[in-house]
């Protein structure tokens, strides 16, 4: 085992290979507060990459209802349970959040899946603590959750009034997931054939189909369960981050880096994807006007999913503001309280950066804000809101302007008291 730096955990960590970092890293931010589980992302991915025979159970992109759902079923509960068994009572965070880019959430004092694996597994069986989901667990992307099924015994027909929907009389939220293209991928670490590699130019993790011999060690090792086995080709497959689009080699992209299909299809506009610069030590290089850098390291509103697993995932989430905090802290680490506070009381810059989500399918590499006058001040749901006529400009890879968003003159809003106001 080598020792590598994990900035999300604020400490060094054991990993089967030496650290090697790409020059840029594929990363994304999902704003959960906006997700209504329309599953457009899921279907965009399915219809692009996994519509073939043998891929029926495969959903590289999925949206699951938390805390009930999961694809595969109970994936996070199961791996958390295994970690807890390996290190009872020890899976906790300590330390103090650092100001810099290393350890912004404090220090994780527990064991990662690599460390727990080294301690609890025999050397031959695996290098990573994991498990192989059963057929049943792969069987549905969000089983029994929010699927407007028909009445019991009536096939191929949705319930017309929706009253057969399950009801949760408590908090819940929708968690959209794709492969996190981790900086320390568990799938890569576990593959006995070295068939999985991380691209030096963009950090996208790919699985070489010609090298795969179907050992399924990646399926077992990935804590997010985003590597999947295909029975008819007898090889494993995973999200490829729509790399032709990200490269700009997809015909539709006309040479300009483009966001993935799942991002582009998002009608709730919850998603932004980009490529961040990586420093020599594996942290994100200072890039003050990169929108993802801003959301993760400056505004600190976007947090990694289950950072304690130790793979340094590159998917970040703006946590849902209405959900139980202990649950969120477990899922996104101790940065949750600050993230929600900053999101609920957004700064002028954060409001401007949030305007960049889904205004274009091109990848944004930099933004700039031209400040304008204050145009509104008022209260909303008990909070003060100030709005400025700021213009936010998005730039692409070559520094050319992709688009600009401007808040224009106030428009008159008719009172809802009018009968014809609907």
């Amino acid at each position: 085992m080598a020792t590598v730096k994990n900035w999300q955990l604020g400490r060094d960590m054991e990993y089967p290979y030496d650290a090697r970092y790409p020059s840029r890293q594929f990363a994304f931010v999902f704003n959960i507060n906006r997700c209504i589980a329309c599953q457009s992302c899921t279907m965009a991915c399915k219809s692009t990459w996994t519509f073939n025979k043998g891929q029926e159970h495969m959903w590289w992109a999925n949206v699951e209802t938390k805390p009930y759902g999961g694809y595969p079923k109970w994936w996070d509960a199961k791996i958390l349970e295994r970690l807890e068994d390996a290190n009872p009572g020890g899976q906790v965070w300590g330390g103090t959040p650092a100001d810099g880019r290393f350890g912004p959430y404090g220090k994780f004092d527990g064991q990662t899946i690599f460390e727990a694996g080294a301690k609890t597994l025999t050397p031959d069986s695996a290098r990573v603590l994991g498990y192989l989901p059963t057929d049943e667990e792969w069987n549905a992307p969000n089983i029994y959750e929010d699927n407007p099924v028909g009445k019991k015994g009536v096939r191929n027909k949705l319930d017309e009034t929706g009253e057969q929907l399950p009801v949760h009389n408590t908090w819940f939220f929708y968690l959209a997931r794709i492969c996190n293209h981790c900086s320390y991928p568990a799938c890569l670490a576990a593959c006995p054939r070295k068939a999985i590699y991380k691209r030096p130019e963009d950090g996208i993790v790919l699985l070489d189909q010609s090298e795969c011999r179907g050992y399924r060690k990646c399926v077992e090792a990935c804590p997010y369960k985003k590597s999947m086995y295909r029975g008819n080709t007898r090889t494993s497959e995973k999200c490829i981050a729509c790399y032709p689009r990200v490269e700009g080699t997809d015909p539709e992209s006309e040479g300009i880096p483009m966001e993935t299909r799942c991002m582009s299809a998002c009608i709730g506009q919850i998603r932004m994807q980009g490529l961040v610069n990586v420093a020599e030590d594996g942290t994100w290089a200072e890039d003050r006007h990169h929108p993802l850098y801003y959301l993760v390291h400056v505004a600190k509103v976007a947090l990694p999913l289950y950072p304690q697993f130790g793979t340094q995932p590159n998917g970040y989430y703006i946590p849902p503001r209405w959900v139980s905090r202990p649950y969120l802290r477990q899922m996104f680490g101790p940065g949750v309280d600050k993230a929600i506070e900053n999101y609920v009381n957004p700064s002028r810059e954060l409001l401007a950066v949030l305007q960049l989500f889904r205004r274009s399918n091109r990848i944004i590499f930099k933004y700039d804000i031209k400040e304008g006058p204050k145009i509104y001040e008022g209260m909303l749901h008990g909070r003060k809101v100030e709005l400025y006529n700021d213009t936010v400009i998005a730039f692409g890879k070559d520094g050319r302007e992709l688009f600009r968003t401007t808040v224009e003159e106030p428009v008159h809003v008719r009172s809802n008291a009018h009968a014809n106001s609907i």
């Binding site: 349970e81 069986s125 011999r213 202990p326």
Partner: protein
């Protein structure tokens, strides 16, 4: 001996699951041989090779013999079948045995087809597989036995779908008790199975009270049960009890005993929402669980993973 046709996907998945547990040399040989097939470019030739490989190794890992031995313990009825097939089950609840009519007219005269549904992982644990298959095959033996008089449908009750479900569940509990009783006497039982069946029987026929124990013993020791007798027994107490939970008004098999030790704040909360309710009336387990979770001393527990 009956020929067993095992579904290719079941066979392959069982092999992949069996490999990590195999001895090192054998596992290495398995992988060497399997990996070489990936080099074949022609997809059809490749598939054919994988199939041949799976058949070979299914036998080599002893899985073929494992299943055949158990099925052939039932030599008595296998002659009445036109064949036997094992297919892949996705969930534990799907596992089991069934008889289906063969598709072709010519085969119909040769008797029904035995279909066993198993999850791949069930093939790996010899003990559990024996227990599962012996139990399921006893169901099949009963279904094929004219003296048992099996009929697919139980008589409809007049209590609606939930009463039908109760009836079916009780019928299953009785049948399972007679099967495991007979297996026990044949030397295949264990005290744990008997206890589990007794508990299940006690819960399904809670309205019988202490007499339930005697009834269970009678069914457990019954060597020649018939469909008609079991169906009648299962239906009998439904009408006798016909009880409903006084709180939610759903028909239930029995009310919950724990109501005797109900916590005062929980009882008070139930009375507040159901003013006519008295604790002597009891309530069903679901309602009790709900009110205890909301108003009991454990209700402030936060549940996350």
């Amino acid at each position: 001996m009956i020929a067993l046709a095992i579904a290719p996907d079941l066979m392959e998945e069982a092999l992949l699951l069996a490999e990590p547990g195999a001895e090192r040399d054998r596992a290495a040989a398995f992988r060497r041989e399997r990996n070489a097939i990936y080099d074949l470019r022609d997809p059809e030739a490749r598939d054919a090779q994988f199939h041949a490989f799976n058949l070979r190794w299914f036998a080599r890992f002893g899985l073929q013999t494992r299943v055949e031995e158990i099925v052939n313990e039932r030599a008595g009825f296998t002659t009445r079948l036109c064949g036997a097939r094992i297919v892949r089950a996705i969930t534990r609840a799907e596992e089991g045995a069934d008889l289906v009519d063969p598709a072709s007219r010519a085969q119909k005269t040769a008797g029904p087809l035995l279909v066993l549904r198993l999850r791949p992982q069930s093939l790996l644990d010899r003990g559990a597989l024996q227990a599962l298959l012996r139990h399921e095959l006893m169901h099949v033996a009963d279904m094929l036995d004219p003296a048992f008089g099996y009929e697919r449908a139980l008589p409809a009750s007049d209590g609606g779908p939930s009463a039908d479900n109760l009836l079916r569940d009780r019928y299953r509990v009785v049948w399972d008790a007679t099967i495991d009783g007979r297996l026990d006497r044949a030397g295949y039982g264990s005290p744990a199975v008997r206890d589990a069946r007794a508990r299940e029987f006690g819960a399904a026929f809670a309205m019988l009270g202490e007499a339930g124990r005697t009834s269970f013993d009678a069914w457990w020791n019954e060597d020649r049960p018939t469909h008609a007798a079991m169906a009648a027994f299962a239906a009998g107490p439904v009408h006798a009890a016909a009880s409903r939970c006084p709180v939610c008004r759903f028909p239930v098999a029995s009310l919950d005993d724990r109501v005797r030790a109900i916590e005062p704040p929980v009882a008070a909360a139930i009375r507040e929402e159901n003013p006519s309710w008295r604790s002597e009336q009891g309530l069903c387990s679901q309602c009790l669980d709900l009110y205890e979770a909301r108003y009991g001393t454990a209700s402030d527990r936060v549940c996350h993973y």
